[in-house]
Symmetry: C2
Subunit: 344 residues, 2 copies
């Protein structure tokens, strides 16, 4: 089959790789119908040193089950399924608590002999635990929305849930990327009244307004903090969803959070130390979040997509064939595209 390999920064290739096969009795093989490029794929795209062992890319996909191992009980060939961005058995102590990202037997796509998501097919470990069946046809218009369950919608929702966003709440979302926009959708779903979106790309913040943002703040740094405080009677918002992962974004988050408030970060931190000293200790700020256990949220979010009340798939603003995926990486890296769909 064809799959996406990264050989070095800025060197994405689509090549022939071995077809996936059942290795373990709990595996399934899934033919990929739709996948996409993640903001986090851009980190290695910008920085990977040249290698002869290319990285198998992609961790967001949905597709059709082609084959199942003898111990797979809940899925059958022909089922349309979505895969969360890590696989997990969904039975261990962590999975039962909804922390599938810490699954004792789980792991990441694209490493240790497991396929990446940006290919024509994938072997899925712990298929019963990992995959969620989708009650639509392969040709459904909802597929881009449903694909967002693989990562970005669940990641934005994890931010909102771990921050404890509740009815009537005030929320700042830091970052207008796909996850930030999903965080807006999620804050709205959970009943937030004021949703301030901090971002400076107007096409994206306009979509954020459509998704439920009540205010947009394009300023950054001290100026951005002052603007959010103006919008909140000087106090800041009770919840801040940090959807970037850079140090400036976390500093901004501390600047706009109300005393006693919570910052949830779902942007993978590209820094080792958080500036969180005596001053913010005196303000009783909580820092929560982390990598999203997408699997924990899929069933909960699915009905909102099926009934059309949320349309997270609107973040996809370009569609490319798998063979052209390198151009998708380039376009996202150049901020020419927000998020790129891939049709194998």
């Amino acid at each position: 089959m064809r799959a996406t390999l990264l050989y070095a920064a800025d060197d994405v290739r689509v090549e022939d790789v071995a077809d996936p096969k059942i290795h373990n009795a709990t595996d399934a093989v899934v033919r990929v119908v739709l996948s996409c490029i993640c903001g986090s794929d851009l980190w290695p795209y910008k920085s990977l040193p040249p290698t002869d062992n290319p990285r198998h890319m992609g961790h967001e996909f949905l597709g059709v089950v082609e084959e199942t191992g003898p111990e797979v009980r809940t899925l059958a060939p022909g089922d349309l399924v979505v895969a969360p961005f890590v696989y997990s058995d969904n039975t261990c102590a962590y999975c039962r608590e909804g922390l599938q990202t810490s699954c004792l037997h789980g792991g990441q796509w694209g490493v240790n002999g497991v396929d990446g998501g940006q290919g024509q097919a994938a072997r899925v470990p712990y298929a019963d635990g990992t995959l969620v069946k989708l009650p639509v046809e392969e040709g459904s218009d909802l597929l881009p929305d449903l694909l967002s369950l693989s990562d970005i919608l669940c990641t934005g929702y994890h931010a909102a849930r771990t921050a404890g966003v509740a009815q009537g709440d005030s929320v700042t979302v830091v970052g207008d990327g796909a996850v930030g926009l999903a965080a807006v959708i999620s804050a709205r779903l959970l009943g937030a009244e004021q949703i301030i979106l901090m971002g400076r790309h107007q096409a994206r913040t306009d979509l954020g307004r459509d998704f439920g943002a009540t205010d947009v703040v394009a300023e950054r740094g001290e100026e951005g903090i002052a603007r959010v405080r103006e919008l909140t009677g000087g106090q800041g918002t009770r919840k801040v969803l940090e959807c970037v992962g850079l140090k400036d974004a976390i500093v901004q988050s501390f600047g706009v959070v109300r005393d006693g408030g919570t910052i949830s970060r779902v942007g993978a931190p590209q820094f080792a130390e958080v500036p969180f000293g005596f001053g913010d200790f005196m303000r009783n700020i909580t820092l929560t979040g982390g990598v999203a256990p997408a699997r924990a949220y899929i069933e909960e979010l699915l009905p909102h997509i099926l009934d059309g009340s949320i349309r997270p798939g609107r973040v996809f603003d370009r569609t490319l064939a798998l063979e052209d995926i390198a151009d998708g990486y380039r376009a996202m890296n150049d901020r020419e595209a927000l998020k790129v769909l891939i049709r194998p």
Copy 2:
């Protein structure tokens, strides 16, 4: 009256200062019956540069109301009261949410013309909001226990509450100082099943066992982390209460917390940056806590002291007269005393 002044590191003096008087209609004047020295008093005791404007020390006291301003409604001369370690109006938006440390009109003892607690009397701003009446006599044996409501018991309880300690929980308490021991009491009160106390002063950890610690780990650093993991099936505890405030203690806390778990820190951080990067992000660790709004917890904790079910006053292992307070600072700084009671 006589009061405690700090002129420089290691230079504590008891001197004559102006007698407190009613300044504002909401003030009360309280004659101090019992006060004490706090671990946090040791920071300036170790570091204050010499000054001609000495610092008025002390923020934990209980005493008898002597006089009230015309707008004080709930208190009268003769009432025995305890003061939390900051004053607050208890009516603003933050106070109503139980975050009296962020009170819009509140402040600290010993600054801006407000007396410190280590003296013979104190003017108490917002007396109705700040003070809590105690239903015992001035000669009660419970006074040391009740004084702990001023700071350490509520601080330990804040750690346990913000960490979300619940029935059956596993908890590590980092630090065997007075606050750490109060955190043990609090974790026990909230139903924790396993309480691992990390500390290496045996007299203190023995008291910790009396208070409810199920295990004591005297090792520190990597060795201490390994020991806690041994005691928890390799996983760490769900909650960690960090009661020290030094960077080593927070590093240790991240080392012993279970994936998906919460660290609550109530030791005032003596460092600006928290090592909380990608690895702990992937484990979904929450960092919460902060300065304790003691006022929020006093009514809730008071009955447990009155019925004798908790005896936090046992942390006081030395009693001195006010005139001898300098020796109390020395003894606590030398770790010769755990916590020193002061009788004016």
